[in-house]
């Protein structure tokens, strides 16, 4: 019996089948890959990059701020990285143990820390702020679950509260607020950089990726102020010490170089700690009163009235006039507020300033109008106030929230414009800040040039380019050189008279020249009229040798003093400042 032949499969045929299957399989793969990589290329690339491409903002370092110290500078605002300690109470184990370990490092009470670590219903509690790098490192070494630190940039102030209102602060959004920080925010802040990079699972950028984009940050510029740090500290000490007895609501004071407009010191009390700005009870304390406190300056404006009248030729420095004791203008009576009683009789320009005669200032305004207050007088005085002395205009000093003040229009408004203008001649009915008054008075002392007051001496960019501030002239021929010399002499005369009247603290034995003028200003009430019981005391003074070297401007807000606030408060502070300048800041003595 023949065996049945076993059907055989041709091996070639079998290979061909496998080969065909392989080809089909590869074909499927190829098609699928073509679909994914070519047709859906954009979609998948975007999806991959959204996961792999990380975008980081590289913060720019904010510029530092320095003040003058002799021939060098000293930093008064720096940057420091500090750490915020936080915890996730839902993850923290054994809060009591963790609190006991943390307390010696962060301070505070162990039970309070434990309570915070046991807080229900939240996953984030802040245990402490502003920890140092060493503290942070020590805490992290414990490796407590749910406890971590967060790095944050802070402005730090090595000199504490010094010049706080002048400096301002940087808020939580890294924006400068008040003072130099606000005015120069753009220059100080710099420009943040950017890093867009494909990263690995650890977030480390892959060096080989062509999708990486890196833009380096441009750090902020460093700013050197004109402020002399020693003078600033002493000015702050003086106004703080004096205010213990004066009990003024606030005191604003500044010292300026009248020949350049450079501010040497600028102080306010009360003050605050810029490193803890969020802890102040009232935001009013943030404002730099020397540039934002626009009030009726009172009789220091008589210096401007006198300078304008002399410069216009309406009066001479030696003119005399009969003071009737009062003037009636627009139905109202203008009287003197002099502490010397009845001042009627013949008066001079010098005695008008020394006795601070409102009637004398009104008479000067009358002379500018040919003998009476009229449109000619108003227009001439308005022109001097706004175009020569630049009242009613911001000075442009590098400070946030600078006030412009107010000067009434000379146009007849049918509501007693002549009376209003008579008031302006002795510093009522207009408002001006201390820095505006200082700049205006500087212009009548330095020969007639109005320099823009400034605080920034030098700006150095991150790449080392330096811009040195040059004094900027805003007005020339404010008054003639002769009028300027007359005003210097008249202000010296006032000081000499005050020394004779018993203010011995103004006596420097003839070694130095001093000039000054008091102001006791009525305070306008929001409801209209003036406060009958309180006054502001202001003072404009200078000290130097053959010419004014330091100009001092002081505003005291409602000092609790008897009598003339300009003398009892303003002049008292000026006396202290003058001695401080002579003792410590090389006032040049007179040459003869």
């Amino acid at each position: 019996m023949n065996p049945q032949p076993v059907p055989t499969v041709d091996p070639v045929q079998r290979v061909r089948v496998w080969y065909a299957l392989l080809i089909v399989l590869f074909g499927i793969f190829a098609l699928r890959l073509f679909y994914l990589q070519v047709i859906r290329h954009d979609y998948y690339k975007k999806a991959a990059l959204s996961d792999q491409l990380k975008q980081y903002s590289i913060p720019a370092e904010r510029g530092t701020i320095s003040a003058q110290l002799g021939d060098s500078t000293v930093p008064i605002v720096l940057n420091q990285k500090l750490y915020t300690l936080y915890a996730d109470p839902t993850v923290v184990k054994k809060p009591a143990t963790v609190a006991a370990k943390l307390q010696p490092i962060i301070g505070g009470n162990v039970d309070d820390i434990k309570d915070q670590l046991s807080t229900k219903g939240t996953r984030y509690v802040v245990l402490q702020k502003k920890l140092t790098a060493a503290q942070s490192k020590r805490i992290l070494s414990f490796k407590f679950p749910g406890v971590g630190t967060l790095e944050q940039d802070y402005r730090t102030y090595p000199q504490g509260n010094l010049a706080s209102q002048l400096l301002g602060f940087v808020n939580a959004n890294d924006k400068g607020e008040y003072g130099v920080e606000q005015a120069l925010n753009h220059e100080l802040a710099g420009t943040a950089g950017q890093l867009k990079a494909v990263t690995d699972i650890n977030g480390v950028p892959l060096a080989a990726s062509s999708d990486n984009v890196s833009t380096a940050p441009v750090n902020g510029s460093n700013v050197d102020l004109t402020i002399n740090i020693g003078m600033q500290a002493q000015l702050e000490r003086i106004i703080n010490d004096e205010n213990k007895t004066l009990k003024a609501k606030s005191i604003n004071a500044l010292i300026m170089d009248p020949y350049t407009g450079a501010i040497k010191a600028m102080a306010n009390t009360p003050s605050y700690d810029p490193a803890n700005y969020s802890q102040v009870s009232s935001a009013d304390v943030f404002t730099n009163g020397t540039t934002s406190n626009a009030i009726e300056p009172g009789s220091i404006v008589k210096l401007l009235t006198t300078a304008a009248a002399i410069n216009q030729g309406a009066i001479g420095p030696d003119s005399t006039f009969y003071d009737p004791g009062s003037w009636t203008i627009d139905g109202a009576t203008i009287r003197d507020a002099s502490a010397d009683g009845d001042t009627s009789g013949t008066q001079s320009i010098g005695s008008t300033l020394n006795l601070s005669l409102n009637t004398g200032a009104t008479w000067m305004l009358m002379q500018m109008g040919g003998g009476q207050i009229n449109a000619k007088a108003r227009n001439a005085w308005y022109d001097y106030m706004t175009k020569h002395f630049r009242l009613g205009l911001q000075t442009g000093i590098e400070q946030g929230y600078e006030a412009a003040g107010y000067v009434p229009s000379p146009q007849d408004n049918g509501a007693g414009i002549n009376l209003t203008y008579a008031n302006t001649s002795f510093g009522q009915g207009i408002t001006a800040t201390p820095v505006q008054m200082a700049a205006a008075i500087a212009s009548i002392l330095n020969g007639g040039t109005y320099y823009q007051p400034y605080l920034v001496q030098k700006v150095t960019t991150a790449d080392g380019q330096t811009t040195v501030h040059q004094p900027k002239v805003l007005e020339r021929n404010v008054v003639s050189p002769q009028t300027s010399q007359d005003m210097v002499n008249l202000m010296e005369y006032v000081i000499q008279q005050h020394i004779k009247e018993g203010f011995g603290y103004l006596n420097f034995g003839g070694k130095y020249n001093l000039g000054g003028k008091t102001g006791t200003a009525q305070i306008a009430l929001p409801s209209g009229g003036y406060d009958p019981t309180h006054f502001n005391g202001t003072y404009a003074g200078w000290i130097g040798g053959d010419k004014p070297q330091y100009l001092v401007m002081i505003y005291t807000d409602k000092p609790q003093v008897l009598g003339n606030a300009g003398t009892s408060a303003g002049q008292l502070i000026f006396g202290n400042i003058a001695h401080m300048l002579v003792n410590d800041f090389e006032v040049t003595p007179k040459s003869h």
């Binding site: 392989l22 420091q80 090595p158 603290y505 001695h579």
Partner: protein, 114 residues
Amino acid sequence: MTYSNALAMGRQQTTMRGQNSVSFRVQDKRLGPVSNTIVLIVLACLLGLLYLTQVTKTNAYGYKINSLQQQQASLQQQHDDLTVASAREQSLAQVASSPEAAAMTPTTPSGSVQ
């Protein structure tokens, strides 16, 4: 289909006139389509491997760069901290309360306001 030039040489043998003609034929040794495919895949894999090693090597520099940047940031922070500490040590309040200041002899002031 691709043939190797070397293996195809045998087909070009010829006989000369008067020469005893002996048929000779070298058996063709050709790579088949499967072999070719495998060779190509292996080559592609080698190229891929080469690419991956180079990319990995380059990306390893990312860690080195990252480490150096962290070191730079750390040193910068130390510098900033020291600058702050130095400025604090030189602050007016610190200087005024220093033993050196306490040991100084006061000079006669010009006067004071009473």
